[in-house]
Symmetry: C2
Subunit: 155 residues, 2 copies
Amino acid sequence: MQIALDSFDVKLLAALQENSAATNAEIGETIGLSASQVSRRRQKLEDNGIIRRYRAALNPEALGFTVTAFVGVTLGAHSRENARKFRNMVTAMPEVQEAHTLTGDVDYMLKVVVRDLKALSRIVNDELLPQEAVQHVKSSIAMDTLKDDNLLPLA
Amino acid sequence: MQIALDSFDVKLLAALQENSAATNAEIGETIGLSASQVSRRRQKLEDNGIIRRYRAALNPEALGFTVTAFVGVTLGAHSRENARKFRNMVTAMPEVQEAHTLTGDVDYMLKVVVRDLKALSRIVNDELLPQEAVQHVKSSIAMDTLKDDNLLPLA
DNA sequence: AGTGAAAAACAATGGCG
DNA sequence: CGCCATTGTTTTTCACT
């Protein structure tokens, strides 16, 4: 999928990932385009999958999610089938916000968000560790989050 | 800030973080509420800060961001001033999507997104390591991302 | 490539049960 | 809280550069 983006498209994407509630007219004003062009370009970017979706960013603390943890997981004797089961499981777990396979000594890095430490303990001890494939789990708790915007550096 | 949320609010929040482009009528249909009530509740949730903002989720690969890395940073002799400088810097870096202070042997965990390994190298060697406060940096590259939705587990 | 204006869709309020 | 009607925005389409 090779898509040519001009500088208007990039500016539009930057504006939308910053604030998708802005009207086409408002965005047009900031990037120097008419509302109708913003609409047309936006639709093209949605159609070709560059814009994946629109979502509301919620306030975790206000909703009681006070614990964020990074959980490093090391797998044991790599049976293909057990590793697949593990991946399916973490993908399906709602508390797992991110799951990546890493280079280095840790096979997987999970970002987990829960209401309290008890819930984290339950996830590690009752869900992750019982998995056949899992050999070792190491959790680090985020004491403070300086930044969590997950915005692409389009600038 | 103590806010009472009933099950309609929770369902509404779940629907909005899943897809904020849905119309109030569509959301109302899925959560069992009229469009006008969805509108009223949504506004209240925006006003009291439970809904922070609306954003477009973009496709990183389509935009050329092929490298995601987790960078663990250990600070040296903790001069308060140097640590503050470090925090200000990572917060201002657009390539840093997340920055957390952690429990354990690593002081900070950064999630970095860039176009190629060269850009990652530049960030580590030319931006992070020259910082006074930084003693040690260890990067792990995400070879595969299974999940990256950053949705709160409201279910 | 782009604009501007009309038409269609939608959000937001208020009143009533 | 549902329903309905109204009002004002906003999106989208169309004609025209």
